[in-house]
């Protein structure tokens, strides 16, 4: 997107033709972004609630009052009682600073939208082959011969991606198979549409594998060389005969066999998924089943293959990478001491100082452990941490304050309960260009602040696309009204809270709208200095800006600039998709397709990451343990000097290979300083010199080792995925055989999914609420929709919240297309009033709602509770008023895609 600006006002928007990702094209939202910065419905100045009335305040007052209250909560209840919710709208630099901010405050209670979109993908994929991200790219789909889109509707959620999907479909006459409960706009362009019952993804995949194994369509050599655990999958898959699959999923055996054969034999094949797969109590298991299908058919690590996970928002990939997450520091280092020490070195802040910032808690053995190693409370559950009895929340005290930057308040299920949580908070801070649902839904009277923030167009920085490419975006105009950018606000709060000097020690300050603020370029350089684990080390601001300048030099399909392109980009992949190894000066081109052994590592080649160790003690049926080799066998990347699997590189490994002599003295110096008295243990991921990475690459090896992918993730619940019925299922006859997991504690909270499922069955909820409710996206809106519903061009196109209902169900209930209906849910006496859209998109017994609406709650129009002039043009009921309990055991993902409801004419 290219903006035309006259005298500080954004007047025109022209396509950026040369962008290899979108080639100048947009969807409804992209085509009207200029409106965001005109912003007639934006929040215009800081406000707070005074006895229930919105009152204008100054930034100074806001900073003083909020930070004072935060420190008060900290003193009284500890740092863990303030919960931070960040945003996929941050630039990479903003996301990084937000995570860093929480670290300096002293909590891991920091989360963002990825929790509710692809947290299960990241967990599932990373636990399979090393990194939790899209393996290939939108553009690479042009190489596919078969595409399965399952649990995703990219035509509405990722319209620009359809350019590549449909081009691939046309150029290769490729098979486009859509497996979805709903006949979506994407399915309309499929060559095969398969309707399934919501919540039965694993039986569908296992059903396909059943046919594949039975007919010998699997890629035996690939499995033997590069995959661990397929035998255990075979055993599970045996149970999923075509008859059982049809009984559970509703898909006829013949159709699934055809799909399985196509996918396994008309290669390269790719699997594309979205929230349909992830937003389930079995989200992580679903994702691992998907990965298993790809591995079984040898469809990973080559052009046209892979797990093409489509991510939303402008920077949800980057915000995930940079650790706006309860379970890790930036770039997936995790939370253990090693991770903290690595970042403490990068940040040049004493590790023990960090420790002093955190609470301690009692381990089961009675020992004190620091909360700095304990994952925080996920965004799906924060209100439980406010309202549950204190003894059920595994931290010093309940949550007392919530600090939100760029996250909607209607994106998470169980809104009636969230509202109670909101009302119980002492402090609620919403930093956003719009008031969001948080501002109006509760009956709070005081202690609520709205701070007007810039949009991404008023803030420079890098953003990471779904395919791991980074793009630099220049600020188009200064933030309008009194809104401010993320950098300045975080810096000012850090000042007020007393840790700005430490936190911004190595970051250049520049003159901004309201005074000195951190410079985005400088923040990115700090990310580069610490981002070794994920290959965020090579994408310097200079290189990214050179890419933006030379967009036209990159190939549409390979994303690579030719050798004769200008030197600053020659040979690079567009946006230096991570991992981009080594220092920026090393000029690694980035990695277009992960794990591609057909390329030299210096050309973006790679192997599966040896992330799960070298060997595994596999428990046997007789109770003994057998050592299993987890390194690749006979498979290696092109021209690798090691012609077999190998572990991750450390200083010690280099020494063993005799390659340590290739390190420079300076590099050795850095490594030895980091390692102290055990320098051999310094790995490629914490070597701040980049020397270990450089030497490994020079020998044709990938720093993270050459391991096997695993389809038996032994430390996770259900190491081999098994089917489990949704918490609220209409098929109560299947619950006994396929129950959800037993109750347990995770993320500091109890998860009582089993109890809820059992109670629902016992009480006959499915009779009272017979319709499956699923939810999804409209192309016009995004997320909670506050921003897009405030854009007149978009709002005009979708003026009413609606529920899709099948003609049969509508006829049974006397419901007319366009008529008003009440939708009721099985929890909290929830109800919502909206219009009916009678359509064959959904099958009988299934209803579907878009999730972007807010501003009405349980039938009540809350427009009057918005600050004047900041109410979106379009308001409506939120689907999450109706959605219910249910959380993935690995990530705390909610079950937003399957629940039950009843619908009647209003």
């Amino acid at each position: 997107m290219t903006a035309e600006v006259q005298e500080g006002v954004w007047v025109g928007q022209e396509p950026s033709w040369d962008s290899p990702i979108n080639r100048g094209t947009h969807c409804a939202k992209g085509a009207s972004v200029r409106e965001l910065v005109k912003g007639e419905r934006r929040l215009k100045y800081p406000m707070k609630l005074v006895n229930g009335e919105w009152t204008r305040i100054s930034w100074d007052v806001a900073f003083d009052e909020i930070s004072k209250k935060m420190l008060e909560i900290r003193a009284k209840s500890g740092p863990e009682s303030v919960w931070f919710l960040g945003s996929a709208k941050f630039s990479n630099e903003g996301a990084y600073l937000f995570r860093k901010f929480a670290a300096y405050w002293g909590t891991n209670n920091v989360d963002h939208q990825a929790r509710i979109c692809h947290s299960t993908t990241v967990a599932g994929v990373a636990n399979t082959w090393g990194y939790g991200a899209q393996t290939n790219s939108y553009n690479d789909i042009r190489n596919s011969k078969t595409m399965i889109i399952m649990g995703g509707n990219p035509a509405e959620a990722h319209p620009v991606s359809l350019q590549h999907v449909l081009s691939g479909k046309e150029i290769n006459r490729a098979n486009l198979i859509v497996i979805d409960p709903r006949m979506t706009r994407t399915a309309a362009h499929a060559t095969e549409y398969v309707r399934m019952r919501p919540g039965t993804d694993i039986p569908v995949i296992w059903g396909m594998l059943h046919h594949i194994f039975k007919n010998g369509w699997e890629d035996k050599a690939f499995i033997q060389q590069r995959v661990y655990g397929m035998d255990m999958v075979r055993k599970e898959v045996e149970k999923w005969t075509p008859a059982e699959v049809e009984r559970v999923t509703g898909i006829p055996g013949a159709q699934l066999e055809k799909v399985a054969k196509t996918f396994a034999t008309e290669k390269p094949s790719t699997l594309i998924w979205c929230m349909g797969a992830t937003q389930k109590t079995v989200g992580t298991a679903n994702v691992r089943a998907f990965c298993t299908l790809l591995l079984a058919t040898g469809n990973v690590g080559a052009p046209g293959t892979g797990a093409n996970i489509f991510r939303g928002h402008c920077n949800v990939q980057g915000a995930t990478d940079l650790g706006v997450d309860i379970g890790t520091l930036p770039l997936y280092y995790g939370l253990d001491d090693g991770a903290w020490k690595h970042w403490a070195r990068v940040w040049e802040t004493d590790f023990d100082w960090f420790k002093s910032r955190f609470d301690t808690t009692k381990a089961p053995d009675g020992k004190d452990i620091s909360m700095m190693g304990v994952p925080g409370i996920p965004s799906t559950r924060w209100f439980d941490a406010v309202t549950l009895p204190k003894d059920q929340v595994a931290q010093r005290d309940n949550l007392k304050g919530v600090f939100v930057m760029g996250h909607g308040g209607n994106s998470i299920p169980r809104m009636p309960e969230m509202t109670k949580g909101l009302e119980a908070l002492e402090l609620m801070v919403v930093c956003d260009p719009h008031p969001t649902t948080f501002a109006h839904i509760s009956n709070r009277k005081n202690g609520t602040y709205l701070l007007p923030m810039s949009t991404q167009f008023e803030c420079s920085g890098s953003r990471t696309a779904s395919n791991r490419s980074l793009q630099w975006g220049e600020k188009v105009v200064e933030p309008i009204f009194e809104s401010a950018n993320d950098y300045w606000v975080m810096h000012t709060f850090a000042q007020k809270l007393g840790f700005a000097d430490k936190m911004f020690k190595n970051i250049t300050m520049v003159k901004g709208k309201f005074g000195m603020e951190p410079e985005a370029e400088s923040v990115l350089r700090e990310i580069n200095r610490g981002g070794w684990s994920t290959g965020y080390c090579g994408q310097s601001p200079e290189r990214l800006k050179a890419h933006m300048k030379n967009q036209d030099k990159f190939d549409l399909v390979t994303l690579r600039a030719p050798k004769d392109a200008p030197a600053e980009v020659a040979g690079d992949y567009y946006g230096l998709p991570w991992p981009c190894w080594g220092t920026p000066e090393y000029r690694h081109p980035g990695t277009h397709q992960l794990y591609n052994t057909n390329l030299h590592v210096k050309d973006g080649g790679g192997t599966f990451r040896a992330r799960f160790g070298v060997e595994y003690d596999e428990p046997q049926a007789d109770g003994t343990k057998k050592k299993i080799n987890l390194l690749a066998e006979g498979s290696f990347s092109k021209d690798s000097e090691l012609k077999d699997g190998y572990p991750q590189f450390t200083y010690g490994v280099l020494k063993k290979l005799g390659w340590d002599k290739d390190l420079t003295e300076a590099e050795k110096g850095v490594i030895e300083k980091i390692g102290g008295n055990a320098p051999d243990g310094v790995s490629w991921a914490i070597d701040l010199s980049g020397g270990i990475q450089r030497v490994a690459l020079e020998h044709g090896c990938i720093p993270f080792g050459n391991g096997k992918a695993r389809v038996n993730a032994w430390q996770l619940p259900d190491p081999v995925p098994v089917h489990r019925e949704p918490i609220y299922t209409p098929r109560t006859d299947l619950v006994a055989q396929y129950p959800t997991r037993p109750d347990y504690k995770h993320f500091r909270l109890p998860n009582i999914g089993f109890t809820v499922q059992k109670a629902a069955v016992d009480k006959g909820i499915a009779k009272e609420f017979p319709i499956i409710l699923s939810s999804g996206r409209l192309v016009e809106y995004e997320g909670g929709g506050e921003e897009t519903r405030s854009n007149p061009w978009l709002a005009e196109l979708q003026q009413d919240m609606f529920v899709e209902i099948s003609p049969a169900d509508a006829a049974d209930r006397g419901i007319k297309d366009g008529g008003w209906v009440w939708v009721t849910g099985p929890e909290n006496g929830s109800k919502a009033r909206m219009k009916a859209l009678v359509t064959e998109r959904v099958g009988k017994g299934v209803a579907w709602m878009p999730f972007h609406f807010g501003g009405w709650f349980m039938g009540e129009d809350q427009r009057s509770k918005y600050p004047k002039g900041a109410d979106p043009f379009v308001l409506g009921e939120s689907v999450n008023t109706i959605t219910t309990y249910g959380y993935d055991p690995v990530t705390g993902m909610h079950e937003g895609k399957v629940t039950l409801c009843q619908i009647r004419a209003a």
């Binding site: 486009l176 006949m183 399915a187 309309a188 362009h189 499929a190 060559t191 095969e192 549409y193 398969v194 309707r195 006829p252 013949a254 159709q255 055809k258 016009e780 005009e796 196109l797 979708q798 003026q799 359509t839 064959e840 099958g843």
Partner: protein, 337 residues
């Protein structure tokens, strides 16, 4: 009332004559075990071939304007009607009636009072009657002129006035037409209310019509009540034609989201009825003014010559005489009060 009538017209005539929109090809209700949406996709050519005249290819849109759901309405019938048929109807109707009148005038001349003026006057129309008549009459004339401008202005006036002046005039004409339409609707409604009881057709009228009202030859005066057969034809034409004009006009004035076919139907109806009525009214004006001695007085002063009344409304005069025993007859000797 109007809306009910309009409903009748809409649901009855419209759906019969034009049909409504069809949604393209019903899909099979049962999902077969294998679905290839690409291979099954709708094709424009097939959908167009399957369309009946007046129908459109319609689908679904998310915006509230349901007209927008009509993708293509291929029929060009209305254009042909509007550009060729309607001007032809208008030309034939107006020039035709003028020609007839000229011919009639040449043959029959002005119709005199056979017995000559009596100097005795009888009150035929009170002030209410006359107000309603002139309300309807003046508004009709304004509407006819501004309406005809839409059909003929472009070819007749624009070459003389130039596009800017013509557009300014037409814009004004549109405004006049839109506002005056309400006056006309009121006029038609009142006309109906005040005169309907005297306009129920009867055997007398049949006789009157059979002898051509006596207009064709001197000395023939078929008996008639307050309104003779000819006037009843005018009355019912005005009432029914006016109703059609009003209903179709109302729809054109307040476009509803009922689709293009319906809008075209209303425009067709409006134009056709308007020209037919214009022709009829020209005849009415002729006979009420230059065509017949003494007729104009009825709507001017409201009092007509007794002899004129006896000749054209003999039964009515008799009725009036009996009822009021001459009290309402006035003459030079007996000045009106």
């Amino acid at each position: 009332m109007t809306s009910m009538l309009s409903k009748v017209i809409r649901t009855g005539l419209l759906s019969l004559v034009f049909g409504l929109f069809v949604v393209a090809m019903p899909a099979s209700a049962q999902q077969p075990s294998s679905v290839n949406p690409t291979a099954q996709s709708v094709k424009e050519a097939q959908l167009l071939d399957a369309l009946k005249p007046g129908q459109s290819l319609a689908g679904r849109v998310s915006i509230p304007n349901k007209d927008a759901a009509n993708l293509i309405q291929p029929g060009r019938d209305w254009r042909a009607f509007n550009q060729e048929t309607l001007p032809r109807i208008g030309t034939i109707a107006i020039l035709g009636v003028l020609a007839l009148l000229v011919l009639f005038y040449l043959v029959r001349g002005k119709i005199r009072i056979d017995a000559g003026p009596s100097q005795m006057r009888i009150t035929r129309f009170g002030s209410v009657d006359r107000f309603v008549h002139w309300l309807t009459a003046t508004s009709f004339i304004a509407l006819a002129i501004t309406g005809a401008n839409v059909t003929f202005g472009k070819s007749v006036l624009m070459p003389m006035m130039g596009p800017e002046a013509f557009s300014a005039w037409s814009g004004m004409a549109k405004l006049i037409h839109n506002y005056v339409g309400f006056a006309f609707m009121a006029g038609v409604a009142l006309t109906f209310l005040i005169w309907v009881k005297d306009n129920i057709p009867g055997a007398t009228d049949l006789k009157w019509i059979l002898v051509g009202g006596g207009l064709l030859s001197k000395g023939t005066h078929p008996p008639a009540k307050r309104f003779n057969g000819g006037q009843k034809i005018v009355f019912w034409s005005v009432v029914l034609g006016g109703a059609f004009l009003s209903l179709s006009g109302w729809h054109l004035l307040f476009p509803t989201a009922e689709g293009m076919a319906e809008a075209q139907w209303h425009a067709t109806l409006h134009g056709t009825v308007a020209f037919v009525m214009t022709a009829l009214i020209i005849g009415h004006i002729y006979i009420g003014s230059v065509g017949m001695e003494g007729a104009f007085d009825a709507m001017a002063s409201g009092e007509v010559d007794l002899n004129w009344a006896k000749e054209h409304h003999s039964l009515w005069v008799k009725e009036e005489m009996e009822r009021k025993s001459g009290s309402r007859i006035s003459g030079a000797a007996q000045p009106a009060e």
